[in-house]
Amino acid sequence: MIISKQKPREELLEQLEGVDRLFLIGCSACATECKSGGEEEVFQMEEWLTSLGKEVTGSIVIDSPCNINRAARDLRSQRQQVDEADAIMVLACGAGVHSIAIKSSKRVIGALDSLFLGNIRRIGKFEEKCSLCGTCILNETGGICPATLCPKGLLNGPCGGMEEGKCETDRDLDCAWHLIYEALKQQGRKNVFTRIVPPKDWQKKKHPDRLETGRSSK
């Protein structure tokens, strides 16, 4: 799930200078689950904007704005209220902001910072375990990603800063390579420790990335 967080209010205030009427868009997927841009948060944003003397011309929570066509369809369904606004405030990750920005001629104000692909420990507690590197070696590391969990992203770890199984950057953080070692040891496997993992081919992780699989699932 994409973890996002609302931008600080001071930053939003800068964006709101000269903007009197806004249309709000939220996201029913990731932003709802991490409580940054769901129906409740859109309502709270409306309250805050109103308290500033702004007018909210309308709002909609889209399922979900990263789908460009659905975003366009939902914008069309709210055409009148959108037209009345000076700007559209989008409470969704950057993908959602992009969809709205390219499907509307209105100025778009993104209200969130998109942070990481997160696992959910429990409500309100999110942890990055996968950084979408595109060249996954989880099958060799017991499901524990060194590219993500090692702050240096070492493919042949650990580094000399590991102390009692903890990371040099944060003594509360487990060393990723220690976690991998313990996981594989428990299963009696050597896997990643039997080879030198070569340097990453960064051609496989270019920006902007794209994938075309065709329309059917076959």
Binding site: L154, C159, G160, G161, I196
Partner: protein, 291 residues
């Protein structure tokens, strides 16, 4: 040609020391320090040590070579991608720099530019392989190098006191298999652990130069334990410094005792004396024992 390599090959106990490049332009202090170092085989030049921005170590190492000293050029993977690393190494070779210490590098969070982008395009294993290829006349893309291949004597770091031992040692073995010709260790304090480590390391046939850090006060120990990755001063040594009437003398005594043990176990000692270079002969017991 590398005196470090020759001395290690002949079984002579080597002594290395280290200096940090300046944060600025002007190397007078460095040469004053270096000229005070007696009986040193080679001098490590650190690379943005502790992730604090300093002058390029290639520049300082090149100046050392020009003035007749032998450097060990430290190069980390923290600040340079694979292109910059190869580029720097070729430049270093042009200046006659041969000894290398190839490191992953301390994380930027420790230093004065914590907001920089950590590179780590390669790790120390990859960097060792890169050096191996360069010495055979090829770059990472497989392209042939022009002219004669550079000569390098590549070293890597070891952490004898790390736990769990097996996890640390598989990395050590990977470094050996990637062409490491000598190791320098982090500062050692636990001599029993050093003995265990050397028992496992010795059969792999790559000489180990043990790091010895001159402790100057109990406060320094606490600072090191808190802030410097890989350095772990045990409580009993901190206590000795706390109780000593002259902590620096006590620190010299501790270093001297450590070197004494290192002479039996390892191929050399790497001294980190942090401004107290004049105490090096004392630590090495140069006046008492023929080394």
């Amino acid at each position: 040609m590398s005196r470090l390599r020759d001395q290690l090959a002949s079984g002579q106990f080597v002594v290395t020391a280290e200096i940090a490049p300046p944060k600025g332009v002007g190397v007078k202090n460095i040469f004053e320090t270096v000229s005070r170092m007696e009986g040193i085989t080679a001098i490590n030049v650190t690379d943005n040590q502790g992730a604090n921005m300093r002058m390029s170590p290639v520049a300082v190492a090149a100046l050392l070579v020009r003035e007749g000293f032998e450097p060990v050029l430290q190069i980390t993977c923290r600040d340079r991608n694979r292109m910059a690393l190869q580029s720097e190494l070729l430049g270093a070779a042009q200046f006659g720099i041969e000894n290398l210490l190839l490191l992953s590098g301390d994380h930027p969070c420790f230093g004065d530019h914590p907001d920089t982008r950590p590179v780590f395009d390669l790790d120390s294993i990859h960097l060792l392989q890169v050096v191996d290829n360069l010495t055979k006349g090829r770059d990472m893309a497989g392209k042939p190098l022009s002219g004669d291949p550079p000569f390098f004597f590549p070293g890597a770091a070891a952490v004898p006191e790390a736990e769990p031992f097996d996890l640390m040692f598989q990395k050590f073995r990977k470094k050996v298999n990637s062409g490491t010709r000598f190791f320098q260790t982090q500062a050692v304090f636990n001599l029993e652990k050093l003995e265990n480590f050397m028992a496992a390391a010795r059969p792999l046939g790559v000489p180990v130069v043990a790091g010895v850090l001159l402790l100057k006060s109990a406060r320094m120990c606490h600072f090191l334990n808190r802030n410097i990755p890989g350095v772990n001063v045990p409580p009993h040594l901190i206590e000795r410094l706390e109780k000593a009437s002259d902590p620096i003398e006590e620190g010299v005594a501790i270093a001297r005792e450590t070197v004494h043990v290192v002479r039996d176990l390892c191929s050399g000692v790497h001294l980190m004396t942090l401004g107290q270079e004049k105490r090096i002969p004392d630590i090495l017991e140069k006046n008492r024992i023929e080394c």
